[in-house]
């Protein structure tokens, strides 16, 4: 099993940039709590599994950049998106 670091790093950076922009709206009645993000992570893992080892076809049987992107979004939301 090989981990190619290029897509992991770039996917994480792109996800982190988007995640830092996810901020709560004070006047809105809709709240997206941690349950929503848990569902998004589960859906993202399923989609990544269906995509297979994209884009390198030789590493883990998941789309590693896709997973790095969702991890970046969650971490960006937790750190700077408050």
């Amino acid at each position: 099993m090989i981990f190619y670091l290029g897509p992991l790093i770039l996917g994480f950076i792109l996800g982190f940039i988007i995640g830092t922009r996810i901020k709560p709206s004070p006047g809105s009645k809709l709240k997206f709590d941690k349950e929503v993000y848990a569902v998004i992570v589960i859906v993202a893992v399923i989609v990544a599994f269906w995509q297979g080892p994209f884009p390198y076809y030789h590493d883990i049987p998941l789309a590693s950049g896709f997973l790095a992107g969702i991890i970046g979004i969650i971490l960006g939301k937790l750190t700077l998106g408050r």
Partner: protein
């Protein structure tokens, strides 16, 4: 917008954004690259902005953020091109990741894309183009939505032909 849309659009837009990120990452070996992936990320952001409105959208993009991200993308593209010009004499020459053995080996291994194509700097060009495009396309929609506020119009002046309502 309806409540169902407001419940479902934010998670779906995040998945659209992730598919855009995946398109950018595979841009050197599959159809689509920085522009297409950036457009997909912008589509996710625009989806949120249209459904929730500019004020209540969970993905908030400020003008300073747009300016800094687009500048970073453009500068990254220019620097990658200048690296080719400096080390080989040709602008945007694909140097690979070791830059004529100047870069230390562990950094070269970190940023190497060891696929059969040996894409070199192409994935990084896709990355910076994606940054520019995601901000640029989002900025167009945000500017259109803010146009009433910028022009000082109120909600009653939606009649673009200036005709009286009958």
């Amino acid at each position: 917008m309806s409540t169902i849309l407001k419940l479902f659009v934010f998670p779906i837009s995040l998945i659209i954004i992730l598919i855009g990120i995946n398109t950018i990452l595979g841009g050197h070996i599959t159809p689509g690259g920085g522009f297409q992936g950036g457009a997909m990320i912008a589509a996710g952001i625009i989806f949120c902005i249209i459904v929730y409105g500019l004020e209540e959208s969970p993905i908030k993009i400020s003008h300073n953020f747009m300016a800094s991200l687009e500048s970073a993308g453009a500068l990254g593209y220019v620097f990658l091109g200048l690296a080719g010009l400096v080390f080989s004499g040709f602008f945007m020459y694909n140097l690979g990741v070791d830059l004529y053995h100047i870069v230390p080996q562990f950094i070269s291994n970190l940023f190497n894309y060891p696929d059969p194509t040996h894409a070199g700097i192409i994935p990084y060009l896709n990355f910076v183009v994606g940054l520019k495009v995601l901000v640029g396309l989002s900025a167009v929609v945000i500017t259109f939505l803010e146009s009433d506020k910028l022009l000082g119009k109120d909600e009653q002046s939606d009649n673009i032909f200036g005709e009286d309502e009958q």
